[in-house]
Symmetry: C2
Subunit: 598 residues, 2 copies
């Protein structure tokens, strides 16, 4: 009926007035909002563009017009988001995590901590999310935090051509790196409400040399970050003293009876870890091919923008088809869905597939974790997993600013919930087989499979669920790498944790040879005494030193170059970071990579 | 009445039958237990010796006999506990944490990870706790974990003179150290249910060089440790699948309405941090003088045993006097006290001071956190804080196996609760001034003041309370050192995080000089070619290298010695760990310490 359609529209356009709007009379007072004026403001914690109009046009029967409007709207947002990245600041693409990892490892990446990058990054991620892409906004928080921290440490901005002449003490390279570590930690902390996880992330990625004071300061930054976010969000939610939103994504509470797991479930979790690992490997393999394809054929900015728009349009179309072919109707009563769409369901019911697609990925994850059993039927979950998996895989690596954490969690939560439902069918609806718990485990497994489950991610998951007993299952998932793959593709001199195992026979003499510089006899006679400015005792290695030994010095001391001397202490060469990073363990033993000339 | 006395005795002797015993008829069936046969078995989570008989003898009026029995019983337990430490294995004294810190820092401490030490440690801590000393059993868990890990890594036991010929690969020094780190982490994890805190503890104390794989393995060990403890305790509590006791001490849940803090409370918490810091400094100063006194006058084992017995007798006497002079009667109804004593209170009431002294310190801490407002009156809390502070200070450093974590928490919880009560008086019984919340903050502040609040301790507190929002207040407490002081007193070559700030002028030439060895002319002619067994490229420094540079190499690479060469690459000396540890920043600039000759 027109009245119920109007009621739903009113309900959809208001985030904070849900309770009031359950009364249809007051609902009528809510004016019809234009999607273009409301969306950007609702972004952080709201729905993608187009969600608003679908239901309205369904009532009028204009299905194809709905699709066209939705796809166009999404593509338009993505067009802008992609164009600013491709044409203005390409280093703002993706989550920025590989770039920050490289920076902390000691590799120089131009523009990575510039103010311009931050502006493009933040605008870009807003546009990607509004454009309905299968992306998250949490990864970019880490890059954003790093840029802010770097800017503060330098007290000047290259983008603005301004020097504030403050903090000059911190302009040293090592101090800047420390600030960037702290910024990255603060970003993780704000994204997931995980201050300890943030510190561990920074340490894992950045700190070669454990320093207690530095760690303490990073932890302090993390804590202040999550506290500030919490405070601001509490004000936004209208309850200043509440302090119950420590992160951008909040997984909700897991302390009900059915969320407790028992020992006999651990093998089941491990099996889910294996599934997550296999799916993650497939995701990474597909993405690898896609990335190779992109490097070869889609390297021109305009092509990159067109691909991003294409993905946005396809995402909208596929979601549209799925939603309209779905007959998964659930009662509105007692449901936590924020933007229920009726579509072809009876009055008082909503379309469950639409709920999965029309919430932000963050809200969909939480609803898969917490909605009561029966909120999603297995066919919906299966189809959603399949479609979202390929959409997310295609999306990752596009020239837009966006993260892969949340899509990974969402894919995992969907198949995990499906797994839980199957389990409760098999065991005769056993009370312990709560689908929400399995959705959580699936999410952890999938995140581990796609992003590589490190110590920091386990801790982040523990903190985001506020339940330390989940630590063990979160540990029992396998490790695959995606970020590291992307770093390798970019050919930068990134040093891993250990030297390649077969590299013991390589010595420093082989690695560092002085490049021959032409010096004429005349020039040789013009000498200048630089000894006052020299470091009389630099770190040196004899030319017989093996690669692992040199590697350990670089990694432990955070060096960029190391002097090689002969038996008589005469300089015979210089080993640089690139000399070390060239050697990787490939299929045929030790391989020498060709690195980009930067 | 005799019947009520009998009832209470029955209630006291049974840990798991509380509900049943609320019915006086079934209570009569419980036989009168002898303290000597029951105590050791009830130890982990039970009360100190003597608690059982006090009430009985009160009824009969034999007050002085009660005191004598109690003090004698306690002293007897402590006699045995102290004697085995003093005569059999002195390295088992204290918590063992300073010793493990030194071991992980690279200092060799004889017997520290021997099986014999473990046996003495575990028996000793049981006897200290049963003997009613103001000690905890959590610190020794860390030492115990390390010994077990070291034993596994070596596959042999020096104490048993057995070599199992397994794990020979791990017999290298660095591998053994890695195992000990993991064991210490597992100990922290089991003690506090804090796996992440355990990992951070190990990293802070042991890892010079952050290694991702090692950290991952340590985390795994921690997680398995807390899980195993949880599983065993669940069986002990009769609910195998429950898994709700992740640590030996469990702070309970802090998610009620009144436990939430707001921003305007943060300055109050900081003020409490200052109080904790000052009290901690007083505690440490008193303990320092006491330690100096002990080093000078109480170094003979029999004197050490006598002092420990004296402390046990005084502890019992002081507690006895306090309990009998207390008139703080609280209703039994709705109370969570495990072993209520009636004494001079009316029927249906218990003595609150007795509750604070007769529970294990762990239970008293939890009850100060969670008992409803009004469970303790201010006079009780004030007297208890005062007395327990001095008792704990006198106890720490005794030749018994025992920890200082729990006494610190208990002192802080007592004055914190007192602070909370005062605050609610001042503010007119405001709902937000829950005394339990302030007890928690006091405990954190006092722990920080006494033990030095490090990153790992903050995380341990966060994990033990399962409430990440408390992270910020747990950070805002000052840092003082106790463990480090004890390490300094023992004069071992412990390397801190940074070289002393004024040490730049010291060079390697000054530090390492080859000791002159007398070699006769004949011997000089007998040469042997050792070049095959030599490392042709050891880490070296030129003789001009400054102390901070050498220090950084030692710390980052975990070295024990470093070759010093001249400009022609000829060896001129060797810098050892002791050469570096000799220099400390004292009052008059850089000081050279004399280290013990080991």
């Amino acid at each position: 009926s027109p009245r119920s359609a109007f009621f739903r529209i009113g309900q959809m356009s208001n985030v904070d007035l849900d309770d009031e709007l359950l009364d249809p009379v007051s609902a009528r007072l809510v004016p019809y909002p234009s999607p273009l004026t409301t969306h950007p403001f609702f972004l952080w914690g709201c729905r993608p563009a187009g969600a608003l109009d679908i239901d309205k046009f369904t009532e009028r029967g204009g299905l194809s017009f709905s699709l066209l409007l939705w796809a166009t709207l999404n593509s338009a947002f993505v067009l802008v988001g992609s164009a600013i990245v491709a044409f203005v600041e390409p280093v703002a693409a993706g989550s920025g995590i590989p770039q920050i990892k490289c920076f902390l490892n000691g590799v120089k990446i131009p523009h990575v901590v510039r103010l311009k990058t931050l502006v493009i990054k933040v605008s870009g991620v807003i546009l990607s999310v509004v454009g309905g892409l299968a992306v998250g906004k949490e990864g970019p928080m880490i890059h954003s935090g790093s840029v802010i921290a770097a800017g503060i440490s330098q007290g000047r901005s290259t983008s603005l051509k301004r020097d504030f002449k403050i903090f000059e003490y911190f302009r040293r390279d090592t101090e800047k790196r420390d600030f960037v570590s702290a910024g990255a930690a603060a970003g993780v902390s704000a994204a997931f409400g995980a201050p300890v996880g943030g510190v561990l992330f920074s340490l894992e990625e950045g700190a070669s040399f454990w320093n207690q004071f530095l760690t303490w300061r990073i932890f302090f930054a993390s804590m202040i970050s999550t506290f500030t976010l919490n405070f601001v969000l509490s004000i936004y939610h209208g309850n200043i003293w509440d302090l119950s939103s420590p992160g951008l994504i909040n997984f909700g509470r897991f302390d009900t009876e059915t969320m407790v797991y028992t020992i006999h479930e651990i093998p089941i979790f491990i099996a889910m870890g294996v599934v997550g690992g296999i799916l993650g490997a497939v995701f990474n393999a597909l993405n690898y091919w896609l990335t190779m394809f992109r490097i070869r054929y889609i390297h021109r900015p305009c092509l990159q923008v067109i691909e991003a728009m294409l993905v946005a349009a396809v995402t909208a179309t596929v979601a549209f088809v799925l939603i309209y072919s779905s007959r998964d109707c659930q009662p509105l009563q007692g449901s936590s869905v924020s933007y229920p769409l009726q579509l072809f369901c009876a009055d008082g019911e909503y379309n469950s597939m639409a709920a999965a697609f029309f919430n932000t990925p963050e809200k969909s994850v939480v609803s898969l974790f917490h909605d009561p059993p029966g909120s999603y039927n297995p066919v919906t979950l299966g189809l959603f997993t399949l479609v979202y998996f390929f959409l997310a895989c295609w999306t990752y690596g596009l020239t837009v600013s966006a993260g892969v954490f949340i899509p990974s969690l969402l894919i995992g939560a969907a198949w995990g919930r499906l797994f839980g439902i199957s389990l409760s069918y098999v065991t005769g609806a056993a009370i312990w087989a709560d689908p929400g718990k399995y959705a959580l485990m699936g999410a952890a497994a999938q995140l581990g499979g796609i992003v590589r489950m490190t110590l920091s991610l386990t801790v982040i998951m523990m903190e985001a669920t506020s339940n330390p007993t989940y630590g063990l299952p979160f540990l029992l998932v396998p490790c695959f790498g995606l970020y590291d793959m992307h770093i390798q593709l970019q050919s930068v001199p990134f040093l891993h944790w250990e030297a390649p195992v077969t590299s013991h026979s390589l010595t420093a003499r082989y690695g560092g040879t002085v490049a021959s510089i032409h010096v004429s006899q005349d020039e040789r006679e013009c000498t200048m005494d630089l000894s006052e400015f020299m470091n009389p005792s630099p770190y040196t290695v004899p030319q017989e030193a093996s690669l692992p030994r040199v590697f350990k010095l670089f990694r432990a001391l955070g060096l960029r170059h190391l002097v090689v001397v002969d038996n008589c202490n005469q300089v015979v060469g210089l080993v640089t970071r690139k000399d070390l990073a060239r050697y990787r363990l490939g299929k045929g033993g030790l391989e020498e990579l060709s690195l980009a000339q930067t």
